[in-house]
Amino acid sequence: MSTPSAANPVCAIIRASFEPYRRDALPSPQRRMLREHLLACEGCRSAAAAEDPTLRFARPLHEPVSEGETREILAAVMTGVDLLKTERRIRMGGRGRARGLRVGSAAAAAAAAVAAAVLVSSGWGILQSPMPGRAIAGASAAAPAPAAASAASVSAAPASAPAMQPAAMAEAEPAPSPDATVYDWNPGAGREEPRVVWIVDRGLDI
């Protein structure tokens, strides 16, 4: 282990600051100076670790996030935002009915939508997770208000799979009625971007 060098007074000052740093008693400028010095000086890093091993963590530890990963996160977030917008619209429709705005039969009332998002993008993500429970938990964390009207069913189907598999739907939600309308939104076809399929089921009164 190296000792403070008389030839380098900066090292001596830095090493004398370890103790107040650990007590969180170092003013910000000195604290910053110590951290920057530790990054650059191997000798002081060793001295710091010998004095207190937790001083090894006194540095920024950035997680490498590639541009591709950032794009994937952004794509998943924007898809989630679209789902949340739909939930809001559905909830507003529900409130309208509660105020007596509903006219006609249940079938003619504001369309009850079951949003089934099939995110046909390879990789990971709460909105692409193979575990439906987890995906719903993620969506509800973002939207604390009751989201009973919306059922976000998530499938991790590979890109080559058909857009909607009735069997896959049956696991999480009842299959849509035959007169349901299916909207297939696939703006990034061929570019591994999320694909969203909406099913508007007018036979379902929520």
Partner: protein, 208 residues
Amino acid sequence: MELVYSQQKERREVAELPDRELAVRAREGDMVCFEALVTRKTPAVVSLARRIVGSAEDARDVAQMVFLRVWNEIHRYDSRYSLNTWLYRIATNLSIDFLRSSRSRERAHGATLHLVRAREEATAGDATRTAEDAELSQLFEAVSCRLSEKQKAAFVLREMQDCETREIAEILGCGESTVRNHLFNARRILRKEMERLYPEFLRGRNRP
């Protein structure tokens, strides 16, 4: 063609806006600004979540939840305050929630196994900063299991994100003295765990 050029120009302009301006415009419903905000803040949010939840994959999931929460609650953002503090508060709370789930707890305990491999990789290759970061990251995962969620969050925010104590108090919703208490206890527990599990780390980088 003109429209595409115009959109690209708008995105370039938006990318240069300061954080608060981006957040204010996103609050007013500007989705281009919201996208720019997500793109800009993703690395910081993933890094913070990664240290707290202990897994890169989980951290990316948490980051998605964070930005969905941001979109949902952007109307509550008060532009008089730092966007980072607000964002870190959401990220820390969601990371802590995630950590409390049994699944992520199991992963954190399993991190010790990864440490051996990470150290082998770090020493086999050239000793670059990246390898050292990866090694430290794995070490932290292994020794931080015994920290409470708040202790872990306080330590990560202070040491790895270099936040001020006052800022951490705001993020965690507690007093500065409580933050200092969390930091003191976190350091004590980490030191004990490192001495118990990896005594060689006490001897600096010249390991036998």
